[in-house]
């Protein structure tokens, strides 16, 4: 295992492969001593019949990352999920992408219902037959009066597709299982051999509401590989754009939560204010979602003095309106009665599942890339980590409100002192045979990209871990012993990405 930092290139030759059992034991040992798994994935190997595997662990207390490497030979590998639950989905993903059986995995199912990259199949499904998403075994509760409720993939509202299966006793949910994969677009496979003219656009559409977060993670990664020094001015603008993205989504989420408990004033106000924040991003780069904002080497657009002044003016108005709209929630008893004690996640569960973002901070965990693994502007300017301790829908909502206030203050501060200079540095070719881990704190939580280059400096593997990948299981977990009618607010309080999970 090798120590590294966020956005620092490692030579692959320095990363000595461990024997697989030693590698597995090392992951378990590190997680037992407080590290968490950021990524764990397979990569095509030069040797036929074997698959390289890489693990990235975060040591937040020491502000560093730990990378391990090993090889799986044959058609299977021993699962460590029973000892280390937070790798459960990573192991299923390795199995699905490379056709390897995870022996001893307690719930061994496909992740995205897609064919493997190797022609082998972990579930021995015949080659010619189509793979139908959501079809297969689901956890079932047996017993008199126990019933099953299936929802989706197409469900009410303008929302991405996913399948949710509830085991209920009356109104009470005993178990929820979530089957995704409907949004699978084959992005990781398409990224191999890049960068190409499309690479940045894949990043911007991994999860469209996190365009700036994912594009920044990608930019940091290729900048590390090419040893490009990004101008300070570009780092500032990226930081402002990232916090605008957080503001828009957090404000939108609070409005949506409010709507889901039937409290329409805040729902209406926040829906509009969210749009106003998106318009601020559009003022910077022409796109409400920050498309073409972040580029390898810097940013695609500069912020002239008049633009900065306009942003500051709008920031003040939107901050006032957001405060006014959101504070209605905490004073309203019918809202609080629905938020409090609904869908609680304990801190231990969050640690065990490797939960990230506001959902983790709502259990009191000070888990924030901007603080623990800072890169870019966050090396110079700090945002206090916002936490709450109750772990319920209220905590997830309230942490968002705390973060909204921090982001408003941060943007205001940074806009007043943008360093001068250019916003884009020319990019150089990528280093060959190297590995970089790049993290950003998207509004949903930790975005982790890992890029590995071949002897030509092209990507032999590009791994994307959207925060949703860690958190979907937490949503399923909090639904236990909840009323089924509380599913919408529990779901909204996490607001996870389907396409970011399905890639």
């Amino acid at each position: 295992m090798k120590k590294t930092l966020n956005g620092q290139a490692l030579s692959l030759s320095a990363l000595v492969p461990l024997e697989f059992s030693a590698f597995s034991a090392a992951i378990i040992k590190e997680v037992d001593s407080g590290k968490r798994v950021c990524a764990y994935f397979g990569s095509p190997s030069a040797e036929k019949g074997s698959v390289d595997v890489f693990a990235v662990l975060a040591d937040d207390s020491r502000n560093q990352l730990i990378v391990g490497r090993s090889t799986i030979t044959g058609d299977s590998f021993p699962s460590i999920t029973p000892r280390c639950p937070q790798v459960h989905l990573f192991e299923r993903e390795i199995a699905e992408q490379f056709g390897l059986k995870a022996i001893g995995h307690p719930w061994f199912k496909p992740v995205r219902y897609a064919r493997s990259w190797t022609g082998k199949d972990a579930w021995d499904r015949p080659q010619g037959e189509p793979i139908v998403p959501g079809v297969g075994d689901f956890y079932r509760v047996e017993g008199e009066q126990v019933h099953e409720v299936g929802v989706g993939p197409v469900h009410a509202g303008v929302i991405e597709p996913g399948h949710f299966r509830f085991q209920c006793y009356g109104e009470e949910v005993y178990h929820l299982e979530i089957a995704l994969g409907y949004q699978h677009r084959g992005i990781e496979e398409s990224l191999i051999g890049g960068p190409t003219a499309r690479t940045l656009h894949y990043m911007e559409t991994l999860s469209g509401d996190s365009t700036v977060g994912h594009a920044t993670a990608y930019a940091q990664l290729v900048e590390a590989l090419s040893r490009t020094q990004v101008p300070a001015r570009a780092q500032w603008i990226r930081g402002v754009a990232l916090e605008l993205e957080r503001l828009a989504n957090h404000i939108g989420d609070l409005g949506a939560l409010s709507g889901d408990v039937g409290f329409l004033p805040t729902a209406s106000f926040c829906g509009r204010i969210r749009g106003e924040i998106l318009n601020m991003t559009a003022l910077l780069c022409g796109s409400r979602f920050g498309r073409a904002m972040v580029r390898p080497g810097g940013t695609g657009f500069d912020a002239d003095a008049a633009r900065v002044e306009a942003l500051l003016r709008r920031l003040a108005i939107n901050e006032r309106d957001a405060r006014n709209a959101i504070n209605l929630l905490w004073d309203n008893q019918s809202v609080m009665a629905r938020f409090e004690d609904t869908g609680p996640l304990t801190r231990d569960q969050a640690i065990e599942l490797g939960v990230v973002g506001p959902a983790a901070r709502a259990t009191g965990l000070a888990r924030d890339v901007r603080y623990a693994q800072p890169a870019g502007i966050f090396r110079f300017a700090q945002i206090p980590v916002s936490t709450h301790d109750s772990g319920d829908v209220f905590a997830r909502a309230y942490v968002r409100w705390l973060e909204i206030q921090r982001s408003f203050a941060f943007i205001r501060e940074q806009l007043c002192c943008i360093p001068s200079g250019p916003v884009l540095a020319p990019m150089k070719p990528l280093a060959a045979d190297s590995l970089v881990v790049s993290l950003t704190e998207g509004w949903r939580g930790e975005i982790c990209h890992v890029g590995i280059t071949d002897e030509r400096g092209a990507f032999s593997r590009y791994k994307v871990v959207d925060p949703s990948f860690h958190n979907w299981m937490a949503l399923a977990r909090v639904l236990r012993n909840q009323g089924i009618s509380d599913f919408p607010i529990c779901n909204k309080s996490f607001n996870l990405s389907y396409c970011g999970h399905d890639l």
Binding site: V158, A197, G286
Partner: protein, 258 residues
């Protein structure tokens, strides 16, 4: 209660006047209708086509296919002579796929036509959609959704999004039609009673966007079901979407190019 009323007064009335009044102010950097000026183009370098992530540019005929275009400025930046620019014209919705191709020097496109008399009689004052995301990244979905907020207030035109395809007059599709959503999409479409309308929003739904050619997606919606309205963009601005929907309903009919 008093606090809610006070807040309501402070938040104010926000619904825009458009389409009776002016459209809302758009950002000066908005990338709308592209324009190709061939007199500036030497026609030999093809840097624009090489830079385009989706093959939207045909350097022979000097045309840009907005159905593939991501409005990302990669081509405009690659072009040393500045022959490609993106104007602030937000009106991009069309009825026929071929009308999305912007040719050399073309300043206006053949914008979407209104429904015919019979369809307009049925849908002209009430149009309900089931929205289906089939591999969409969430951006088109978000700007379809935003039309429901108080600033845009889609309901005032009789348009709304409904929970069941059985309650719908048509579907709005976003995303490159992931293969894993093909069945769900087809079943949703089949469940909508005739006569019905299909709208493709965003470059993904029109052509597959950046995912065109991937084994995991089917590509454009019109390879699966017939499409009545194409609204390009990545994602299109909410005003572009609203403009398209209102043209379809015959509520905006001015300025059609020939």
């Amino acid at each position: 209660m008093y606090k809610e009323i006070l807040t309501r007064l402070q938040q104010g009335h926000r619904t825009m006047k458009f389409p009776r009044g002016n459209p809302p102010a758009l950002p000066d950097r908005l990338r709308g209708l592209p324009r190709v000026s061939s007199e500036k183009c030497a026609g030999t370098c093809r840097d624009c086509a090489a830079a385009c992530p989706t093959g939207a540019i045909d350097p022979e005929s000097k045309a840009i296919d907005m159905g593939k275009c991501l409005f990302c400025v990669d081509c405009a930046e690659a072009c040393a002579s500045g022959a490609i620019e993106f104007t602030g014209d937000y009106r991009l919705a069309v009825s026929r796929r071929e009308d999305l191709v912007v040719r050399d020097g073309q300043k206006e496109i053949e914008l979407a036509r209104a429904l015919d008399r019979k369809m307009k009689r049925i849908f002209g004052r009430s149009l309900k959609f089931r929205v289906v995301s089939a591999g969409g990244c969430g951006a088109c979905e978000a700007d379809v959704n935003v039309l429901n907020t108080i600033g845009w207030d889609l309901g005032r035109f009789g348009i709304s999004y409904v929970a069941s395809p059985r309650h719908a007059d048509g579907i709005i599709v976003t995303g490159p039609v992931s293969k894993n959503m093909l069945l769900g999409l087809q079943k949703t479409w089949d469940a909508v009673p005739e006569p019905k309308i299909a709208i493709a929003i965003g470059s993904c739904a029109i052509s597959g966007g950046p995912f065109a050619g991937s084994e995991a997606v089917a590509g454009g919606l019109d390879s699966v079901i017939p499409v009545d309205l194409y609204i390009p963009g990545c994602p299109p601005h909410p005003l572009t979407i609203l403009d398209g929907l209102l043209r379809l309903m015959g509520k905006i009919e001015e300025k059609r190019a020939k």
